[in-house]
């Protein structure tokens, strides 16, 4: 029986939380199918992090320590993964659905001629067989994916399960990696440019989505409500992609993560990348014409209706209530 291989990620010198979540999933599969959990940690000067993972559920932890792995690089990381696969003979490879996971995981699957189950929120074992659960159509439909053969490679959504935080003694094994010539080169990482608007400080955020249809609608429909509530405007990604509002207004995984006292989502479907940016808000009101929109799953109060009708009336009512 092959193992379950966790591809861990290093962040600020430590194994990141999402990797311990992979450990939870790996141990769940391991317990149900009698497979051993093994892990890979790669980077430079990572032996302490690898040692820690080996004591916290990562099982046998292969530590690939190399200057070429100091920053994420596709070729170097893939070389380390290949060495770990040779050492661990996995039936299941688990990767986090993070920027390096997007880059690396499909390469692993294709190189193994394996099935690929990306961006899963859960994995079940039914009669010894794996079933991966993920959403299609930006969160509008759920699915069960069943591999027809092993190995299988899956990426799991960060936050989909609790990080493993028990103690389980494993061991650390240094892993020699021959990195060879690189087709890609890491140049630098950049942080987003300084922001004019800091949404994280707003008590109230009124956000609009793609359905607004144009920049003028933000001024005519969204801004008046935000102003009446003494709050700020926010937006989903397509709004920013289309250039209707600058990036600093974007809420979500590639924008800002906010938790105001009140978040009003107008015509926003509720894709996971938007939800991670606002679901911690104290109170959420969603206005959407589609009763099945995923945004209603995280909202406290919902209105199924046309935002162009509801929002202006709400603005007037708020103004009236203020006197």
């Amino acid at each position: 029986m092959g193992s379950i291989l966790v591809i861990a990620e290093i962040q600020k010198g430590k194994v990141r939380e999402a990797s311990y979540e992979l450990v939870s999933f790996a141990r769940k599969i391991g317990a149900a199918t009698n497979r051993e959990v093994k892990s890979l940690v790669m980077g430079q000067g990572i032996s302490a992090a690898a040692e820690e993972l080996s004591k916290k559920g990562g099982g046998e932890v292969f530590a690939a320590d190399d200057a070429a792995l100091a920053n994420y690089n596709l070729d170097a990381a893939f070389a380390a993964v290949k060495a770990a696969i040779a050492a661990a003979s996995p039936d299941v490879v688990l990767v986090s659905n993070t920027p390096s996971g997007w880059d690396l995981a499909p390469r692993i699957a294709a190189s193994l001629d394996a099935g690929f189950a990306p961006d899963c929120f859960n994995v079940d074992v039914e009669g010894g067989e794996l079933v991966f659960l993920r959403r299609f159509f930006n969160g509008k439909l759920d699915s069960r994916l069943r591999p027809t053969s092993l190995p299988v490679v899956a990426t799991m959504q960060p936050g989909a399960t609790a990080a493993f935080d028990g103690a389980a003694e494993g061991k650390m094994t240094p892993l020699a990696v021959s990195i060879g010539s690189l087709g890609t080169k890491f140049v630098e990482t950049k942080v987003a440019s300084a922001k004019g608007v800091d949404l994280t400080k707003a008590d109230v955020i009124v956000s609009g989505g793609r359905s607004l249809g144009g920049p003028e609608k933000f001024q005519e429909v969204i801004k008046p409500l935000a102003d009446a509530l003494g709050g700020a405007m926010g937006a989903s990604r397509p709004v920013v992609d289309a250039g209707w509002l600058p990036h600093e207004y974007q809420v979500g995984s590639s924008g800002q993560v906010v938790s105001p006292k009140l978040y009003v989502a107008c015509g926003i479907s509720g894709a996971i990348q938007h939800l991670v940016g606002m679901k911690a808000s104290n109170f959420i009101i969603a206005i959407n014409k589609d009763a099945d929109a995923p945004i209603f799953e995280v909202a406290d109060l919902g209105v199924v209706g046309d935002l162009f009708e509801v929002v202006p009336k709400l603005t007037e009512a708020v103004k009236a209530a203020k006197g």
Partner: protein
């Protein structure tokens, strides 16, 4: 320089999504389709290079039924030079890897210097085809490009979490997957649409590509066993009544929250 752009036709963003009878995909009859938004940015990136570098050829490739012809014509109307359409029921039900194998066979025949693909498709959201294609071709790749530069070397800014960016340099040939918002996608001009009518669409079958039996549903390493509407959790309390009543309730709640 030759650039290959992989495009997928997907249900329009506003299309109604109903699960089909078999419960394995959506009901595709009578809905509108469009070029996957992420692929539109891929095509635009290729066309911008073509605008800059004389002698650049842009070849668009798509897999799918007859309806895909319309998307290929749109791409040609926007400025692509040629299209390859893999139109064969034997490709139906391919998993990401099967799709990548088909595209790899096309790429081997075309030997492009550069391949663009959307980061993910708006239907499956799998984000797998591009990197898998690069792997099968043995070329480097990068994902989620939000900018692309070619001054000798290829330099890409890729998107990380929380608005951070990573700058990556790639050797050619290589494959780059594009994120939405990377560029503003052009429309096909009337002149472009007229010119597109004369541009070639090369139709191929799976067997033409030497892949009979290697792709499609039977060869898939992973299958969609079931597609379904997500179970309703706790969810929001949905307000009922006329718009005025609903608005009244919202204002009541906002007051209760101490925000008025």
């Amino acid at each position: 320089m030759k650039i290959m752009v992989c495009i997928k036709q997907v249900p329009h963003q506003d299309a109604r999504l109903d699960v089909n009878g078999a419960g394995t995909w959506i009901q595709e009859e009578n809905i509108k389709f469009e070029i996957n938004p992420y692929d539109q940015n891929a095509l635009e990136a290729a066309l911008q290079l073509k605008d800059k570098e004389a002698g650049t050829e842009v070849v668009v490739v798509s897999i799918g039924p007859e309806r895909v012809t319309q998307s290929l014509r749109t791409a040609l109307g926007m400025g692509a030079d040629r299209a390859v359409h893999v139109k064969d029921g034997a490709a139906d039900g391919s998993d990401s890897l099967g799709t990548a194998k088909i595209l790899a066979a096309v790429a081997k025949a075309e030997s492009p210097d550069l391949i663009f693909a959307g980061f993910m498709s708006d239907d499956g959201n799998l984000a797998a085809t591009g990197p898998m294609l690069a792997t099968l071709l043995g070329i480097p790749h990068t994902t989620t490009a939000v900018s692309f530069q070619k001054n000798g070397a290829i330099q890409v800014e890729r998107e990380l979490e929380g608005g951070a960016l990573e700058v990556v340099e790639l050797n050619t040939p290589c494959l780059v997957t594009t994120q939405t918002g990377m560029n503003q996608v052009r429309y096909a001009s009337l002149k472009g649409i007229m010119a597109a009518k004369k541009k070639p669409i090369d139709v191929k079958t799976v067997a033409d590509l030497g892949l009979a039996g290697q792709v499609g549903a039977d060869a898939a390493k992973i299958k969609i066993e079931k597609l379904y509407t997500p179970p309703k959790g706790q969810g929001a309390e949905i307000l009922s009544g006329s718009v005025d009543e609903v608005v009244g309730k919202l204002v009541g709640k906002i007051k209760e929250l101490g925000l008025l």
